[in-house]
């Protein structure tokens, strides 16, 4: 098979993977080596769906021995199969990297024969890149559940970031749809990776030559909407994963029906993109805004309101804490004001040291008042066109409704997958 055809097949099979960013590690260039890495990550292009292209994202092989119900590569599906040789993949990576097409390689694979065999093939690629080609760019590699810990460990010594897909938000769903995987098989490597990362940090702190293990950390992803879990369950799970496994990112992927299965949504079901978007917003609130999952959703209200972003939703249920005085409110509280993002909050904090801020000054700082005005005071003055004691009225004004939801967040216009313009940069500045 021609390399071009293999590339088509194995790109096509990997494209639903969303965790494709090149962020998390700063590594200057080295004499005689090829490449460097920037902490914020770099996007090199944007595909027709608007998503960032940062890494050469391919599968090593799509010739799978497993049969996960939600997957295009499952054994029981008829379709073209291909497998890269390690040399082919090395040539592609280096050739693309030298032309500044990519930041590096994102390597995942279907299970060829068995997990260990698959992992050995991937390891061969990474070794050739790092040792023979002296490649110093970014590598993200997926651990295959069920691989022996020794091999997973070796992968991590060559990679910048590792990930293990949690796949589905509950054990019951996993048992139903991915019978060859289990919670243990997934969480096992996740725990191993976490521990090795911690050890390697400790070693590195003691002597500089220690080998770095996945210095950009680990991430995971799960499919949303294929199974019946609520937003609350999903968010609590992510929060738990962040805490327990010290993940850098949890990615959500709206389920796109690619195969027919009686346990899955029908093939013409549109992917729940708006829900995915809300979950990402909530995820940022957890990571950068000091919120906890249980503040955002409770058992009586286990799912997000599609019309309200999660921060607005929270604020409207806690109107007793508003309005906040911009010139005095603690930074943590500024972060909780709908419409004020991390960057705006930081600018306010810096600017109010020099002068009392009024609404004109806020505008000059680049603070968008469209939503914030319902929740703030400047020097005791309000700019809210509505009475502040009626959350319902305000909800109507801040909701993504009708025209606006179609114009600003129509499901098909949403950044299909997370705004990965190197997600971390974007998330930090995301005006929620």
């Amino acid at each position: 098979m021609e390399l071009l055809d293999k590339l088509s097949i194995l790109t096509d099979a990997a494209k639903y993977d969303v965790a494709c960013t090149s962020s998390g590690v700063d590594r200057p260039g080295q004499p005689g080596m090829l490449g460097n890495a920037a902490r914020a990550g770099i996007c090199h292009s944007f595909a027709a769906d608007g998503r960032c292209i940062s890494l050469l994202k391919v599968l090593m092989s799509n010739d799978c021995a497993y049969d996960c119900a939600y997957c295009v590569n499952r054994r029981s599906v008829d379709g073209p199969r291909a497998t890269f040789t390690p040399e082919e993949l090395v040539r592609l990576t280096i050739g693309f990297y030298r032309r500044n097409y990519i930041e590096g390689l994102f390597l995942s694979s279907a299970v060829v024969k068995n997990p260990d065999h698959t992992c050995e093939q991937m390891l061969a690629v990474l070794k050739l890149l790092r040792e023979r080609e002296r490649f110093n760019g970014y590598i993200h590699v997926k651990a295959i559940p069920g691989t022996s810990p020794r091999l997973t460990h070796q992968l991590g010594l060559y990679a910048d970031r590792m990930s293990v897909n949690i796949e589905l938000p509950s054990q019951a769903s996993l048992a139903l749809l991915a019978p060859q995987k289990s919670k243990e098989k997934i969480l096992g490597p996740m725990g191993q990776i976490r521990d090795t990362i911690a050890e390697s940090r400790y070693e590195l702190a003691r002597y500089k030559g220690a080998p770095a293990f996945a210095p950009a950390g680990q991430s995971t992803q799960m499919i949303i909407g294929a199974t019946p879990e609520t937003d609350r369950q999903i968010l609590l799970l992510s929060e738990g994963l962040y805490k327990k496994y010290q993940l850098k990112r949890v990615f959500f992927s709206a389920y796109m029906p690619v195969v027919a299965d009686r346990n899955l949504p029908a093939r013409n079901t549109p992917p729940p993109l708006l829900r995915e978007h809300r979950l990402y917003q909530a995820d940022w609130l957890l990571r950068f805004y000091g919120f906890e999952a249980r503040e955002l959703l409770d058992e009586d209200r286990p799912d997000f309101d599609p019309l309200l972003d999660p921060k607005c939703g929270w604020a409207l249920r806690h109107m007793e804490q508003f309005p906040v005085e911009i010139n005095r409110a603690p930074y943590e509280m500024l972060l909780r004001v709908p419409g004020i993002g991390v960057k705006s909050a930081q600018r306010i904090r810096a600017a109010r040291r020099y002068q009392a801020l009024d609404f004109a000054a806020l505008k000059k700082l680049g603070v968008v008042l469209k939503r914030a005005r319902f929740f703030i005071l400047c020097n005791g003055k309000s700019a809210s066109p509505l009475p502040m004691d009626n959350p319902l009225l305000i909800a109507g004004a801040v909701a993504d409704r009708g025209e606006r939801i179609r114009k600003t967040v129509p499901p098909e216009q949403l950044t299909f997958f997370p705004p990965t313009k190197e997600d971390d940069v974007k998330c930090l500045t995301g005006q929620l």
Binding site: L4, T11, G29, R98, Y101, E412
Partner: protein, 256 residues
């Protein structure tokens, strides 16, 4: 120094030259009506004074900016010179004067029009530089990896260090078609800027063409079909960059 003379300064278009214009203003205790580079085509009806470039004088002005204002203000001026802001020379000189008065706080005086415009222009410059770190495409010419760019701001001095760091073992050439400025980096570390009106690159070798085809194929395949989002794509990757991008070149409309 509010008093404007009915005089236009002309300088050689270099940063050192502009700093000498600044020195001239201080000496004269008056601002000119305008400052223009020598190669500025449109003439002026006002009398012109040519300002000679004196490197030592320029360095003194720069050092005084650092001492009397701050290191950051000095860097800000250097970068402001790379922007395509209108009237940048006069704005920069007024900024310098303001800096002598207010010290480092000048960088925050956004209510002042000059400071505001300079900050905006710098934001534009840095955004554009970042875009070229993302979107510059090299071709392997055998001896060299070569790229052409067409930025509005003079971003090459900001972009070049990134690629030197990234490709220390390669020979590199980047040419800015807008400003007629090129940059060379040789394996081993030697680097230089050069000036040229235009540059003709040889047609792609067979191998180069093969990699381009592979990349275009990857680019097409990785998009999820049925999810086309041209607006979002254009937001992140505006069309004016497409002509120099391997994967987008074919999509550039002939009539702009």
């Amino acid at each position: 120094m509010p008093d404007r003379t009915a005089l236009v300064y002309r300088y050689d278009g270099t940063y050192a030259g502009l700093l000498c214009c600044a020195a001239e203003c201080f000496r004269d205790k008056r601002l000119p009506a305008d400052i223009q580079p020598l190669d500025e085509p449109q003439g002026t009806l006002l009398p012109v004074k040519a300002i000679a470039t004196d490197e030592a004088l320029a360095r003194r002005v720069e050092l005084s900016a650092e001492k009397r204002i701050s290191r950051r203000a000095r860097r800000m001026l250097r970068e402001a010179f790379l922007t395509c802001m209108e009237h940048k020379e006069m704005r920069m000189i007024r900024f310098l004067l303001l800096g002598y008065k207010y010290g480092d706080r000048v960088r925050m005086l956004t209510t002042n029009e000059d400071v505001y415009e300079i900050l905006q222009a710098l934001r534009y410059l840095n955004n554009e530089a970042n875009r070229y770190i993302e979107f510059t495409r090299f071709s392997d010419l055998g001896e060299f990896l070569a790229a052409e760019i067409a930025p509005n701001n003079n971003v090459l001095p900001l972009v070049a260090p990134h690629f030197c760091d990234r490709f220390p073992a390669e020979n590199l050439m980047i040419f800015d078609k807008t400003h007629g400025l090129g940059f060379l980096h040789r394996r081993g570390g030697e680097r230089e800027f050069f000036q040229a009106d235009a540059l003709t690159l040889p047609p792609p070798s067979e191998e180069e063409a093969a990699y381009r085809a592979l990349w275009k194929n990857f680019y097409r395949t990785v998009a999820v079909e049925g999810r086309e989002n041209p607006n979002l794509r254009r937001t992140h990757m505006p069309m004016r960059y497409w002509a120099e991008m391997t994967e987008m070149r074919d999509a550039v409309p002939i009539h702009k």
